[in-house]
């Protein structure tokens, strides 16, 4: 699990704007409901890890998936209820992310 290899294969880099896919399907999904369909930006590329959606059913977790630390503005998640500039940071696997426009804050 070389870090150089995993970062070379990563689709996104820190600062990239991303949108979380809104998927709803059976299985063990590590992407919490409250960020599905929301936009944020990549804070960090962790590297590649076995896929928990596969491991959860006793399978081998391959192919590995790139895991990111993704940031969201509180106000983008909770609207007026979040009257502050804090961020929410969530670990999200690459297959849950798609590129989206705009600049990172």
């Amino acid at each position: 699990m070389g870090r150089a290899v995993s970062e070379a294969s990563a689709q996104f880099k820190p600062g990239d704007r991303v949108k979380v896919k809104f998927e709803d399907r059976p299985g063990h999904l590590r992407t919490p409901w409250y960020i599905r369909g929301k936009k944020g930006w990549v804070e960090r590329v962790y590297g590649e890890f076995l896929n928990p959606e596969s491991l959860a059913f006793g399978r081998d977790g391959l192919p590995k998936k790139t895991l990111y630390l993704v940031a969201f503005n509180q106000t983008d998640l909770w609207g007026d209820a979040a009257k502050n500039r804090d961020k929410v940071l969530v670990d999200i696997y690459e297959h849950w992310l798609e590129p989206t426009g705009g600049d990172a804050p």
């Binding site: 299985g27 063990h28 919490p32 409901w33 409250y34 928990p52 491991l55 959860a56 059913f57 006793g58």
Partner: protein
Amino acid sequence: MARGHHDVGGLPGGPIDQTEHQLSDWEVLADAVNQALGVRGIKRTDELRRAREEMDSAAYRDMSYYERWIASMEAILIEKKILTKDEIDKRLAQFESKWGEP
């Protein structure tokens, strides 16, 4: 489909009980069994999480944290044909006849 019973981020959760409470012996034992099953390569954490997500929602909500752990370990051990539901129930009945109901 909808959000699972485990996936409650952002929902109103009510007040949080922040008082310290000591773990019961059975809770420590539940943790020990969990560790042992992991070291032996019998289960992965992801499998137990999935088992808890597949539980009956009302049962999930009624259970405490370690009760959910035990229920998910039981489900995975049965799924992997290491134990049968019958074996577990029989052993449980033995304990209850010896020690009384929990």
